[in-house]
């Protein structure tokens, strides 16, 4: 079985994230990392291969030079190879263009299964997997809280407020997995060393047959016209409980007409 896992390199959410002058994410201001939510996708791919006893996992990312760190991190957890789509023209791409490029790269790899995270931790749109399934006509099994592959059939569980739903489909399929699928493993020292020797292929837009005019900030189908930092919340009143903390809270709530 051939598996492609989509991993995104993002600014660390623990840092003070901001925007550059051209309205795109400032990727220099904060250290980058493999999106934490994509670690669940990596973990599920590794488990699928471990269960099946064989299979080949390729990690795919689109992003500037530094995005190769996301591939190395994933490769230190396991898997076989990485593909990095990097091209200056991609800077500022919207979700539509991102999915166009990733779909072209996936098509080239001809996988049986594509596994994605539930959302990136920077854009947080949660749309790229559905767009890729749509573009490639793959069976779309999104937001799985559990995943099983038996032969040619993929089964997922998808949880919503109303119901827990079981969904099945045939390969080739695209699955996105939530953080409910189970903690991702930590890379072992051996894994980190091994990752350094795993092959990473670099692809440009030309390699994918995509015209640069179709991607990037200029080609985005939505435009940001204003960015403002939310003013910090006004400092409030903090009291220490001296046996009447609940009463004081009730006074505050009553003053705000919540009671």
């Amino acid at each position: 079985m051939k598996i492609v896992v989509l991993v995104k390199h993002v600014p660390d959410a623990a840092g003070d994230r901001s925007f550059s002058g051209d309205t795109t994410t400032d990727r220099a201001a904060v250290d980058g990392r493999l999106s934490e939510l994509d670690e669940y996708a990596v973990e599920q791919a590794l488990q699928v291969v471990e269960k099946a006893g064989d299979g080949e996992i390729t990690f795919l990312t689109m992003g500037p030079e530094a995005a190769s760190e996301a591939l190395r991190k994933a490769l230190s957890m396991g898997g076989d190879a990485g593909v990095h789509v990097v091209d200056d023209a991609l800077h500022g791409s919207d979700a539509i263009a991102t999915s166009l490029v990733l779909a072209a790269a996936v098509r080239r790899l001809e996988p049986d299964v594509v596994i994605c995270g539930m959302a990136s931790t920077d854009g947080t749109m949660s749309v790229v997997p559905a767009m890729i399934a749509e573009r490639l006509g793959l069976t779309g099994l999104t937001l799985a809280s559990s995943l099983a592959i038996e032969g040619n059939t993929v089964t997922i569980r998808r949880d919503s407020d109303e119901a827990s739903t079981t969904i099945t489909g045939s390969l080739p399929a695209l699955v996105s997995v939530t953080d409910q699928t189970g903690e991702a493993r930590y890379p072992s020292f051996k894994g980190i060393m091994a990752a350094k020797k795993k092959p990473v292929e670099t692809l440009t837009l030309a390699d994918l047959g995509i015209d640069p005019s179709q991607v990037g900030l200029g080609a985005a189908w939505s435009a940001v016209d204003n960015i403002a930092k939310r003013p910090p919340r006004q400092a409030g009143t903090i009291v220490t409980d001296e046996g009447d903390g609940g009463v004081k809270l009730a006074d505050f709530l009553a003053a705000g007409k919540f009671i």
């Binding site: 959410a13 539509i96 749309v127 739903t165 969904i167 204003n226 930092k229 939310r230 220490t240 919540f258």
Partner: protein, 317 residues
């Protein structure tokens, strides 16, 4: 005036409040037309008309319930091609975002997700980077497709009698591949909907275990509030994941948010930072949640919260 399509979020025809918000926003952009998937349109017509839907497109084919998401995209695209709408508005649920994503690809249109407001010129406001920035943006190509978060507008009635139109859809081979084989409905809590509630009372790791949540629930019930939880609490299995507030749970923006035994990690803040008033109870005076709190009490929640519940009961009489 061009139509603005609004996908109806409903359970067996009971229309969600978020849909009445979307219809209200749609009136700023054009003439609201509702898109109704599945059974129950008769039960929904009055509400949809009351909030200004002049038309209701209905698609109630078996495929809608048999396969995941994609048949709804076939239906939406069919309607959009026929109506040439000024915009398409969808509630920011996981399913709504997925319908929007696929429709954007098929309709060659720009997409904006998680808007917290949309003005008459189609400019959408988004709250990003864990709600630390507010950005405004606009779709510049194709039919603007915008997914909108709950509480983006106060629903305003504009009664009209909608024309109900059944739409014939032909479903693509690749739209009927993800088959729904089992649906296990969840038990209802009887409390207000988490994303719609005016007051949310949440518990975190400080609640100490599943039993600890009874203290949180009692307070919530005294205030007619919804119950929320941090990921530490849902991961530990103390409270169901459906009630998780934060980056990988729900975003809430109530009038009042009460965090009990929650430290205030960035991923939790992402889901509650835009609440009007924030109150925190935490035994650690250094907990970051206090940076957000309009009122905070440093102390043991097991002392403070039951006392508050009792006090609320007394004052309500």
């Amino acid at each position: 005036m061009a139509e603005v399509l609004v996908i109806v979020d409903h359970v067996d025809g009971a229309v969600r409040k978020t849909t009445t918000e979307l219809l209200t926003i749609a009136r700023r952009l054009g003439e609201p037309a509702a898109v109704f998937f599945g059974a129950g349109v008769d039960a929904a017509t009055e509400t949809l008309g009351n909030y200004g839907a002049t038309k209701i497109y209905v698609v109630d084919d078996a495929e809608i319930g048999q396969y995941l998401v994609a048949p709804k995209v076939d239906a939406l695209v069919t309607i959009a091609q026929q109506a040439s709408p000024a915009a398409i508005l969808v509630t920011s649920t996981s399913e709504g975002k997925e319908i929007a994503a696929r429709a954007a690809v098929r309709l060659d249109s720009g997409l904006i997700t998680d808007a917290v407001d949309v003005d008459a010129s189609g400019v959408a406001t988004q709250s990003v980077f864990a709600a630390s920035y507010v950005i405004s943006s606009k779709v510049t190509h194709g039919t603007p497709i915008i997914t909108v978060k709950p509480n983006a507008a106060a629903p305003e009635a504009a009664p009209t009698t909608p024309a109900v139109e059944k739409v014939a859809v032909s479903y693509g081979a690749t739209s009927t591949t993800a088959q729904i084989v089992e649906v296990a409905p969840r038990a209802k809590s009887g409390r207000p909907e988490l994303t719609e509630a005016a007051i949310v009372v949440s518990g975190g790791r400080g609640v100490g275990g599943p039993e600890g949540f009874s203290v949180v629930e009692a307070l919530a019930d005294s205030l007619n509030a919804a119950v929320g939880a941090s990921r530490a609490a849902t991961d530990a299995g103390w409270y169901p994941h459906a009630f998780q507030v934060g980056q990988t749970g729900k975003t809430v923006s109530p009038q009042l948010y009460m965090a009990n035994g929650i430290s205030g990690a960035i991923q939790h803040r992402a889901g509650m930072q835009t609440s009007k008033t924030i109150v925190a109870v935490n035994k650690d005076a250094e907990a970051p949640i206090f940076e957000l709190a309009d009122f905070g009490v440093v102390g043991d929640l097991f002392q403070i919260v039951p006392q508050l519940t009792e006090e609320v009961g007394k004052r309500k009489g």
